[in-house]
Amino acid sequence: MKTLIRDYESAVIGAGHAGCEAGLALARLGIKTIVFTVSINSVAMMPCNPNIGGSSKGHLVREIDALGGEMGKNIDKTFIQSKMLNSSKGPAVHSLRAQADKEDYSRSMRQVLEGQDNLTLKQAEITELLTENGEVKGVKTLTGMVYITKAVVLCTGVYLKARCLCGEAITNTGPNGLKAANSLSDSLIKAGVEIHRYKTGTPARLDGRTIDFSKMAPQYGDVPVVPFSFSTDPSTVQKEQVPCFLTYTNETTHEIIRGSLDRSPLFAGVIEGTGPRYCPSIEDKVVKFPDKNRHQVFLEPEGIHTNEWYVDGMSSSMPEDVQLRMYRSVPGLENADIVRNAYAIEYDCFKGIQLKHSLEFKNVKGLFSGGQSNGSSGYEEAAAQGLIAGINAAMFIKGREPLIIDRSEGYIGVLIDDLVTKEGFEPYRMMTSRAEYRLLLRQDNADRRLRRKGYEAGLISDSELQALNEKEKLIFSEIERLKGITVGASASISEFLLSVGSTPLVTGASLEEIIRRPELSYEKIAPIDPDRPELPPDIIEQINIEIKYKGYLERELRQVEQFKKLEKKRIPTDIDFTRIHGIRLEAQQKLNKFRPENIGQASRIQGISPADIQILSIYLDAKDKSRFEESHT
């Protein structure tokens, strides 16, 4: 006899970075939620690199935070080194990256979940998704329990039919020897979900006592540290940091690899899944770039309570004996012992084009999906999707409109739009160059871009919104003040400008105009602006950016306006594209398959021409649609 449990309105499958955000968002929005994990010890586990953030990923973390997610707060509590990448470049590509203490990160997140009202954490493998007439009914565990829920969020990461490869040794396990989920894929396929197979990999972990760090270049964190979360008080993150170390592979390393390629599952054809081009294994790098005589290797601590070191830049699926020789050929690693072997992992994931922008499956009502199982890679990409899937599962249950971030509003929007409109063939990683409106989508203004959306969804508190409003008021009024103060071309002003490496004024100019000079900034002109108010650094940063890059920002804003026009043209969900006379057959079929929600999205589908789009938009506007329709006889 089956036991039906009706205590929960929603179920989240998986408690990795996506599952944690999804579960927390649901529970915080008042939805009774149960979060399943195959191992209670693997909540928010970091099975690969020991850091959060980095180029464009740092932007994602800031955006998650702005919307009311947890990742930023959690890394602020558990980081052991922090660095702002690209700080010498423009503000659009500044990216925060922090080394995490992996154990702390996981434990701290688990505590947040355990302390959350409306949220139950449960160790169980889900084997079946229950659906009825294209609607989610609940899930079933391996041990036979059935949970009846209104919504289910899949955050299965790399666990579906996972297979780990270390040379000839192949095991059907998830990362780090954890249990794989072997039954759920088949149940999902039955429910109409399309699946493909991806691959990724991780390097070995070495015993720190056997590494000679004196042969490597230390890499230190920034002082002062900038926190990820807009809610974290910067004074709480100024602490002692640990260094990472830089070394290089050499020709000996490459010879060892070349000599053993026949034993590599990747090159022997054992690996079936598609791996990411941007994150190649060391054997990939050696084969693809034969002219490079060395590759960078970063040694990064896994935590402060462990001896384990992560070897960034040398992921591999070579057999253990090859791995040992290969790592030991690197300066500083001559005597290194491997604690955990490098391995490649293959897993089932879902074709993103089956999803709506809300991350709900188009053909299964109430079924949402977020994370690596949607074809992305990276903790941050996963968390961002988990958050959106969680919020929208809650909106679905409440009967409210989903939260959609578009490409002009955030990297999260770019990420999800790319996943659901482009037929991906490799794990998707965020990059700043994927964002068309990069200068507007900065990590420094994620709160100004997205906090209000988070507030509307219900994850941002009144006081957090209040803080944002006050911040913006300060920015606006200070810029207005600077516009209002005009200084003349007097001798004292000229003298000052020359002293800071600028040129004298010819006529009077406002302080705003003076700040705009490339060699000057808000801070630099303090001596000629004695009446300025005392402002915190984040406000000054916004003032500088808005004044100095005004022309560039305005240009992008104009482009966004054009973009928004098309995003606003909604396409009815019941439309049959094959009936629209004038759209090419190929385009009709593509449109029917993707079912775009608006004209803008339709225009980004590969193989849809501007002409198709024009006919489609005319069709939508036309009062008498029959004029454009073909009769299907």
């Binding site: 180029s55 464009s56 990448l85 690209n86 010498s88 470049k89 423009g90 659009a92 590509v93 960078q296 970063f298 990059m431 700043t432 160059s433 068309e436 990069r438 200068l439 490339p518 060699e519 890059y549 560039y552 054009q562 973009f563 026009k565 098309l566 006379h581 004038g582 090419r584 225009s603 021409s609 501007p610 002409a611 198709d612 789009i613 024009q614 006919i615 005319i618 036309a622 004029r627 454009f628 073909e630």
Partner: protein, 462 residues
């Protein structure tokens, strides 16, 4: 790119060139009246109010580019939705041939209109519900077939270095952009220290090359500025009378270019819609006379700059070594040349037996003989048969030139950003814009393959 193509204002010559003295330029879109306003003036230079002109009315005036009156025109206003495209439309009927039309169109484009794609007026008419599918299909069929032809032709015109150059430029741009983006994405791996100054050099070179393409694009230049034609020969072979005859025939539309010198006289004429800038040179012969020497020197310079030489001989007398020396000089410069056997009327033996390695025409000023042959020969030399009769080629050429200019403008933005000490993330998008525009020139754009999109893909209902 595609996004702002939906409702911007477009302009094109909508009559076939070279067929008649009158040509119509059509401007369509929300800004049509605004753009035309201020360009039309009365004879005394007073601005005509186009904005306020009622629909379906015609006014008479002069088209002015702000500096000079280019042509005498009639201007018709059609207000939406009662126009061909169902948008605000202005039609300007000009009297000049294609040269004048080009200048007028060029000025309109400079002031905010975009060169229309082939068939774009019809497409808009259809999309705006002005004409039905069957009508549109018929029109588009014609346009698409002629465009296919224009595409081939345009690409052919671009070959001979140009096409290849664009491919190389694009490759360089994408290479630089990919490098910059990699470095921005992985700053610990790739350093950009000192890179902008290197890039600046490269981008300046690219701009230089595009400028060269712009000035060297034969059709573009010919349509814009005319074929530089030098009338060359010994003294007293009748060069000046030939100039007068050619100019006189077209007296109504001749403009004298100011600043001509006593010894090199220039005149602008139209032959079958092709503008010729005629230069009458001082006779060339070896001379010891100082003043004459200067004239001869100038004549040589004129030949060097010319696209076409009309080598004139007095066929009523012996052709001597002096003539041949001049002819050899023209040939040695690799110039296109037509030999005019002048004073044929004074020649007893009308069958000439002169041996020249270029077209030879019997010519007589008093009998106005040889004009037709000259026209045909010039046409043949400079415009392919197709080009001559195909309206669309001009449109696509203008479009190509526009794209080249846009790519240059994008690259100039890159230079500006580097000079303003902006970091790479501010200008990689401009590099990509340049890449896209260059792609549009040769129909190999990443996402915007206009020819394929609009013509092979816009096959409505087939």
């Amino acid at each position: 790119m595609f996004m702002n193509r939906e409702n911007d204002t477009i302009a094109a010559i909508s009559t076939a060139p070279g067929r008649s003295g009158i040509g119509i330029i059509r401007i369509s879109g929300s800004e049509a009246l605004n753009i035309a306003d201020g360009m039309i003036v009365t004879k005394s230079g007073k601005k005509l109010d186009i904005q306020g002109q009622p629909s379906h009315t015609v006014k008479y005036g002069f088209f002015s580019d702000g500096n000079e009156m280019i042509d005498e025109v009639l201007i018709t206003v059609f207000r939406k939705p009662r126009s061909y495209t169902a948008e605000d439309t202005v039609e300007i009927s000009c009297h000049g041939g294609s040269f004048i039309l080009r200048r007028v169109l060029s000025h309109i484009i400079k002031n905010g209109a975009r060169a229309a794609e082939p068939g774009e007026f019809t497409r808009r008419a259809f999309l705006n519900g002005r004409i039905d599918l069957t009508e549109a299909e018929a029109v588009m069929d014609v346009i698409s077939s002629s465009n296919e032809f224009a595409r081939k032709n345009a690409v052919t015109l671009l070959r001979g270095g140009l096409y290849k150059k664009i491919i190389i430029l694009r490759d360089e741009i994408i290479h630089e952009t990919a490098f910059l983006e990699s470095a921005l994405d992985d700053p610990e791996h790739y350093s950009l220290d000192g890179y902008p100054s290197q890039l600046r050099v490269k981008v300046s070179e690219m701009i230089g090359e595009i400028e060269e393409l712009l000035s060297g694009a034969d059709t573009g230049r010919i349509l814009k500025s005319g074929i530089k034609t030098a009338i060359v020969g010994k003294p007293n072979v009748g060069k000046s009378s030939i100039l007068n005859l050619l100019s006189g025939e077209n007296r109504a539309i001749v403009t004298d270019i100011p600043g001509t010198t006593r010894d090199v006289l220039s005149s602008e004429v139209l032959i079958d819609g092709i503008p010729l800038i005629l230069s009458d040179t001082a006779g060339i012969r070896e001379t010891g006379d100082k003043v004459e020497k200067i004239g001869v020197e100038r004549s040589r310079e004129t030949i060097e700059k010319a696209d076409l030489c009309l080598f004139t001989v007095d066929s009523s007398s012996e052709i001597n070594s002096e003539d041949m020396e001049i002819f050899d000089h023209i040939m040695s410069l690799g110039k296109k040349c037509i030999v005019l056997l002048n004073k044929t009327d004074l020649r007893s033996d009308r069958d000439h037996h002169f041996n020249f390695s270029c077209p030879v025409i019997d010519f007589s000023v008093p009998e106005e003989m040889g004009l037709k042959e000259l026209r045909e020969t010039v046409s043949e030399m400079f415009l392919s048969e197709k080009l001559k009769t195909d309206e669309e080629i001009f449109v696509s050429c203008e479009r190509q030139l526009t794209e080249l200019r846009l790519s240059r403008d994008s690259l100039e933005l890159v230079i500006n950003s580097i000079d303003d000490n902006m970091t790479e993330d501010f200008f990689t998008s401009d590099l990509m814009d340049a890449y896209t525009h260059l792609g549009n020139v040769i129909g190999e754009s990443t996402d915007e393959d206009l020819f394929d999109r609009i013509f092979s893909e816009f096959c409505m209902g087939k």
